[in-house]
């Protein structure tokens, strides 16, 4: 019975997923992008380790 159940599960897995995709997201990024201004200003957060403060505009 256990063997049948396992087989059933494997078969089911193969059938119900049509496609798998990676979105490319990897971390919670700083969102310096409101509608009006922030994107132009680049990252405006106060942390000192982000790219904005490391590299400048």
């Amino acid at each position: 019975m256990e063997c049948i159940a396992e087989n059933t599960l494997v078969s089911f897995d193969q059938n119900f997923i049509i496609d798998e995709k990676d979105t490319g997201a990897r971390e919670d990024v700083y969102s310096g992008m409101c509608d009006c201004y922030c994107k132009t200003q680049g990252c405006t957060c106060d942390c000192h380790d982000c790219a904005f403060w490391q590299n400048g505009p």
Binding site: N15, F16, I17, M33, C38, Q41, D46, G56
Partner: protein, 423 residues
């Protein structure tokens, strides 16, 4: 389009989503999306443990994206300020959310100097690469060019004395003289210029206070500044029902004329003069469908060079902008400190006052009011599959009951279809 989703509580968040005749199981924090059969989708909605465990097992080996931790601010020491140095403006844009010229006044010079001293000293103490002074909010900064020039010169001198660098930014309508343009070119590194498209788009939206066309001057100034080395240059277009069909044409125009720029688009908000404006905002579905066409189908522009409010599947963010998570250090014309640069803000956005005589007073309770991300704290966000990509939407619009959630969800649904080649 039909969208249904619900959250199933598990160790990893999963959103079953139906879009038209397509079915998905979406794990945003596992950066994975499965297209599944309709039967599996139905079983997932019902909480079927076989389907759920199979899917969660498939993503178990993948790194989980951790949301940033937010800690209350106890000692607010920003090294950037945005000053609204006037409420006057030389244009009379039909949708102006700031209601410029309705109550014309200029910022007191002492307030601006106090703010500049504060951020430059903070930058010095914290040893950051540079401080930043911005001119934004209220009216058009160059309408008070005298103060803008004085503060720019003062900031440079003070920064030099402290041995640090200072950069300058501005959101402007670019309706200024050639002499003013030269000063801006020589001193500013960040510019956001409002240009609503070609002449026929722009002039309808953005006449001068005398009721004349502004396009020729604005375009000439924008082009000159773009071509002459402003490093962070952004063009921002407000879209109405009259221009929404031309979004592709406007974007191509920007790409051709301002190839080094970033491009921002925004529908008219019903705030300020926009509340009574006779030119309506675009229908949200139409606005999103135009971006689907120009970005996903025609691929006119790289995604990282354009912003139009909705976020990307490839980007997880727990806050919409820096208004509260930063928070911003923005000073309105009266010396009120605000978390956002916009005008007509809800009371929650104000967290202190600055004056030339008594200095800076900060209300830390107000400052930390929104520190917990809305996508975690607000029920309306919790069950939304798009929350990690929009970051909880603009709080100004949320508090004015003008959030654009349906449009944001529509855009994210299109991205999901595109990811799976189902568009």
């Amino acid at each position: 389009m039909l969208l249904n989703w619900s959250r199933i509580d598990s160790e990893v968040e999963i959103f079953p989503i139906q879009i038209n005749d397509y079915f998905f199981a979406y794990f945003p924090l596992k950066h994975t999306s499965f297209r599944v059969t309709s039967k599996a989708y139905d079983q997932l909605i019902k909480g079927d443990s076989n389907v759920l465990s199979t899917l969660t097992n498939k993503v178990s080996h993948k790194d989980t994206i951790k949301l940033k931790e937010f800690h209350p601010i106890k000692d607010f020491r920003p090294h950037r300020v945005d000053l609204a140095i006037t409420t006057r403006c030389n244009l009379n844009c039909v949708y102006c959310h700031a209601n410029s010229n309705e109550d014309p006044k200029d910022m007191d010079q002492g307030i601006a100097i106090k703010a500049v001293d504060f951020i430059l000293e903070n930058a010095k103490e914290q040893n950051v690469p540079y401080a930043q002074v911005g001119f934004n909010g209220g009216g058009e900064p160059t309408a008070n060019f005298k103060l803008m020039k004085e503060i720019t010169e003062y900031s440079k001198k003070r920064a030099s004395d402290l041995g640090i660098k200072v950069h300058f930014g501005m959101a402007t309508n670019a309706f200024f003289t050639e002499k003013q343009r030269e000063f801006i070119k020589d001193n500013f590194s960040h510019l956001a210029i409002s240009l609503d498209g070609k002449a026929r788009h722009h002039n309808v939206h953005r006449p001068t206070i005398a009721g004349k066309d502004s396009f020729d001057t604005v375009f000439a100034n924008a082009k000159y500044l773009h071509d002459n080395g402003i490093k962070n240059f952004n063009i921002r277009a407000t879209i109405s029902e009259r221009t929404v069909d031309d979004i592709g044409e406007i974007l191509e125009f920007f790409i051709n004329e301002f190839p080094k720029a970033g491009y921002s688009f925004m529908p008219i908000n019903r705030l300020g003069r926009g509340e009574i404006c006779l030119i309506n905002p675009p229908k949200q579905e139409k606005y999103i469908d135009m971006f689907k066409e120009v970005l996903l189908e025609k691929q006119l522009c790289q995604m990282d060079r354009i912003f139009f409010m909705c976020g990307l599947l490839s980007t997880v963010r727990s806050t919409f902008c820096d208004a509260f998570s930063g928070p911003g250090f923005n000073i309105n014309v009266d010396g009120l400190l605000a978390a956002c640069q916009r005008d007509n803000l809800p009371n929650e956005f104000y967290f202190g006052q600055i004056s030339a005589k008594s200095g800076i007073k900060i209300d830390y309770n107000r400052l930390n009011y929104f520190k917990e991300p809305r996508i975690v704290s607000d029920k309306s966000c919790c069950d939304c599959f798009a929350k990690y990509h929009c970051g909880g939407e603009c709080m100004d619009l949320v508090l004015h009951k003008q959030s654009r959630c349906k449009a944001i969800q529509r855009w994210n649904a299109y991205q999901l279809l595109d990811l799976h080649n189902c568009l």
